[in-house]
Amino acid sequence: MLTDTLYITGSCSIVDNLVIKNGAVLFENRGLAAQPFLVAAYQHFAINYPRFYKMDSLAKLGWLATEILLQTGFDKTTYLPEDIGLVFCNRNSSLDADIRYYETVKTIASPALFVYTLPNIVMGEICIRNNFKGENDFFIFEHFDAGFIQEYVSHLFGTGILQACICGWVEIIDNAYHAALYLVEKTGTAINATFTAENIYNIYQTANG
């Protein structure tokens, strides 16, 4: 079942030492590896959430992209917590944390790393922060698939499961990372792109340079 037109009311990408929101570069720090770059970005935006430091790389990346995406212009109180959901995809699941955890198993296994050895934990961190209680889905694909994201998220709106959705790609393995997240809502303004596969892909690709 298809719904009426949906809008991309915001986007945030973190890739290649850049933080991009709605097409504008908000933060850049060349020369830093993934982990220190994410911490530098977190500190740049003056976010106060000490739990961030405990997260694994995937959770840091997805959590930070969501935090910046929602920082201005989104009033979550206009929705019920159950009506806001997350649909994420990536290529390597939680492999980055899995490898780090495996290294600790050789001596003494780290409980703090173990809890991040599932990809959907990033969505849990975001839901804890924002009190979101809607549908959560994490898909593993070989490549970014704008068509799938558009179709699946539209289905969630069309069947009344969601009224707002943060969706997109959150991928990190070692120092290669790319987050491209979209805020999707039923109402938008003239400046908001419609939620089409082409627009989803263009935002992803623009951030990719």
Partner: protein, 80 residues
């Protein structure tokens, strides 16, 4: 206790806290430093890694990990 505070900050990724800001008798959990159950497991790992001490009785945890001082006393009493 200074070294132990540094080890706690490092082990638990408490990058927002300086070791010297942790009080000797400050509660580590809930209303104190705000540690959670996963942190408790990491403190057990810390004892094992840094001091070769195994916490054999889990029921001792709340008392041992009440503060930096109680941890330090436990380490002192259980080091070979």
């Amino acid at each position: 206790m200074t070294d132990l505070k540094k080890q706690i900050v490092e082990q638990l990724n408490l990058q927002h806290i300086k070791p010297e800001e942790i009080g000797d008798d400050q509660p580590l959990f809930v209303e104190g430093l705000g540690l959670d159950s996963i942190d408790a497991l990491e403190l057990i790992v810390l004892l094992q890694q840094q001091y070769n001490i195994k916490l054999n009785n889990a029921e001792d945890g709340p008392q041992v990990f009440r503060s930096v001082r109680t941890m330090a006393e436990y380490i002192k009493n259980h080091q070979a």
